[in-house]
């Protein structure tokens, strides 16, 4: 439960309010192993802790990456730590994306906004073990073109024949040559065999609910639709009680949860 101070190796701005921080784990034997979809608690000295997904390549534990959106005092303080400073880290926590169970199946990755951060690790894993999976599609949505994460990497993925990458934004000026519209609308262009498809999804809850509905309409089984949820978290280990979603602790039962477990609760108000 103690944060381990790690040096900020580099800090890169992604969008107006997000940045990616690389932490130095060279002093740790074996680096910082994690599974795609897991998160860490990041601590800003004297300010507080916040749960942040790990965005790096799971096959390269020597590099610990987090993409952080500055939305409050803790994330703002983490940004101010700057290169060479230290932030506290404890983790990794939570259940990962079910990439083993997805072997042999078509995979649809659906990311909205900052939701691409925890899915980046999954995409890198899928690319590294590409032959183990069927068709792999990556759908990415953001509010505006400027709000897209990892734009250079997105371009690289788009050029990669092993992936089908579809990007959409809610609003755009005339200079944007890509798609405009909501994420579920992209599903029509995805090649998959619905009954043999696994969906991995992270983004605003409303976006995920609409996307789930479209996936269900197309025949993807509930048990193969996986959502990464966000809830208030203080401890990350199932003690503090904050992240409960009726029977589930998002920190230890999630953050990745299959839709068949979520369905009884996710459409209820204020649970």
């Amino acid at each position: 439960m103690m944060p381990e101070p790690l040096r900020v190796r580099s800090l890169r701005r992604e969008t107006a309010d997000t940045f990616t921080v690389s932490l130095d784990v060279s002093d740790r034997p074996g680096g910082f192993p994690f599974q795609p979809g897991q998160f860490n608690m990041l601590y800003a000295f004297g300010v507080g802790e916040v749960a942040i997904s790990i965005s790096g390549d799971p096959a390269r534990p020597g590099e610990l990456l987090h993409t952080i959106r500055t939305v409050g005092s803790v994330t703002e303080a983490l940004r101010r730590v700057g290169r060479g400073g230290r932030m506290g880290v404890r983790g990794p926590y939570g259940r990962p994306w079910p990439l083993e169970q997805a072997r042999g199946l078509d995979v649809v990755v659906v990311a909205g906004g900052l939701g691409l951060a925890p899915l980046r690790s999954a995409i890198l894993h899928l690319l590294r073990h590409r032959e183990a999976y069927g068709r792999v599609s990556v759908l990415v949505g953001a509010r505006t073109p400027e709000g897209l994460l990892y734009r250079r990497e997105l371009d690289r993925w788009r050029a990669d024949p092993r992936l089908k990458v579809l990007v959409t934004v809610d609003q755009a000026g005339p200079e944007w040559k890509g798609h405009v519209g909501v994420v579920p609308a992209l599903l029509r262009d995805v090649e998959m065999e619905p009954s043999r498809t696994v969906a991995l999804m992270c983004g605003p809850e409303v976006m995920m609910r609409f996307t789930v509905r479209e996936l269900e309409r197309q025949g993807v089984p509930d048990s193969r639709i996986h959502l990464s949820l966000e809830r208030n978290m203080k401890c990350a280990v199932g003690f503090c009680g904050h992240c409960q979603l009726v029977p589930l602790f998002v920190c230890k039962d999630g953050p990745v949860l299959s839709y068949d477990r979520l369905r009884p609760f996710i459409n209820l108000r204020e649970v």
Binding site: M2, G46, V237, C240, E270
Partner: protein
């Protein structure tokens, strides 16, 4: 269920004092019931002298009053406002200190040697509550080190309840009134035919202690008298809760109009969660000294009745009182089963007694059961 008479002893009031003295001599701090601030509370005691002799209480929804009883009973009450929770799961705990250094900071873990506590007069509901909290803090994938350390240093002298409080319903929750596990010595106070205690060891060290203080084997009549005390208590529960399929009942009634009804009464004051012996929510506070050189992280009790509890950047997930009360009650008697394989309610009745507006968990569950499946506006 009556047990064999073997392993049952009789202890006089003097014998009890000897037992307490022996425990103190062995280095245990005695924590027991004592009259304080108009209630029978758990605090440090010296011996029999500090016990609430001749005192009892009257409990009802939203009501707690001390009262006298004529028989000089030492444990003649049911449960006070506090269980033992605050001794194991501290209301406020420093998790670590961090020191700023030239390059970043260093974290200094807490090293505490918790006290060895002897709980005197623990009731069955509260011992069940400790077992329930064990599942949260010790039996999951992670262990809470502070709780674990405190939990290891306990000696338990339990008491079988000689009376049921007005808000008690342990019989419904199958948590009492007879103490069945988690104790070193269990006492039943016998008042007729001479003030004495029937004592049963629950552990080897409990048996050794009884032998040391000269407890004599109990005869059949005393054993039967003790059983009669517990049976009478079991028959006089102030409340009852029908727990048949209770998880499914609540899960299928998450949109029941009763939640709106209770929200009109609930003040969101958090009293129920504070007095509840199983509520485990906590939050953290981070502070720095004035120079910013030393930072501390504290954990303190939290309540699902606060807006901050479900706060996400931008707003609270459970904004309405209705949602927060629903979270508390549903968690307590339904989702707790999914999470920990047990009910989160022990039937101690504290949430009923200490609710300033007298909201009664048994009444709320009964109201939902009576109109199972009702929908808002129906």
């Amino acid at each position: 269920m009556p047990e064999a008479v073997k392993e049952r002893f009789v202890l006089s009031v003097e014998g009890l004092e000897a037992l307490l003295v022996a425990l103190r001599g062995d280095g245990w701090r005695l924590m027991g019931p004592t009259v304080r601030d108009g209630a029978i509370d758990h605090a440090e005691i010296r011996g029999v002298v500090d016990l609430p002799r001749g005192m009892t209480e009257v409990q009802e929804a939203g009501t707690y009053r001390l009262a006298r009883r004529e028989d000089g009973a030492l444990f003649g009450y049911s449960v006070g406002p506090r269980s033992w929770k605050h001794l194991l799961f501290l209301p406020k705990l420093r998790l670590f200190r961090a020191h700023r250094q030239e390059e970043g900071f260093q974290v200094e873990p807490e090293s505490t040697e918790p006290p060895r506590l002897a709980l005197i007069g623990a009731r069955s509901c509260d011992l069940h509550a400790i077992a329930v909290q064990d599942r949260t803090f010790l039996e999951g994938p992670y262990k809470d080190p502070d709780y674990a350390a405190r939990r290891e240093r306990l000696f338990v002298v339990a008491v079988n309840c000689g009376q049921a409080g007005g808000t008690c319903f342990c019989v419904s929750m199958k948590t009492g009134p007879r103490v069945t596990s988690g104790f070193d010595v269990a006492l039943t106070e016998l008042l007729e035919g001479g003030h004495r205690f029937l004592a049963e060891p629950g552990s080897e060290r409990g048996a050794a202690l009884l032998a040391r203080v000269g407890a004599v084997p109990a005869g059949e009549p005393d054993a039967r008298a003790a059983d009669a005390v517990v049976e009478r208590t079991a028959r006089s529960m102030g409340r009852a809760m029908d727990t048949t399929d209770i998880k499914e009942l609540l899960y299928r009634n998450l949109e029941h109009p009763r939640w709106d009804n209770v929200a009109e009464r609930c003040l969101g004051c958090t009293n129920c969660t504070l007095v509840c012996p199983t509520c485990f929510c906590s939050t953290v506070e981070d502070t720095t000294d004035l120079l910013g050189g030393v930072a501390e992280r504290w954990r303190r009790w939290d309540s699902c009745f606060t807006l901050d509890h479900s706060h996400l950047h931008g707003g609270s997930v459970r904004h309405a009182t209705r949602s927060r009360y629903r979270q508390w009650l549903t968690h307590k008697v339904a989702s707790w089963w999914d999470q920990f394989g047990t009910s989160g309610c022990t039937g101690c009745g504290r949430c009923i007694t200490w609710c300033p507006v007298g909201i009664d968990i048994t009444e709320e569950v009964a109201a939902i059961r009576a109109t199972d499946g009702a929908r808002p506006g129906a």
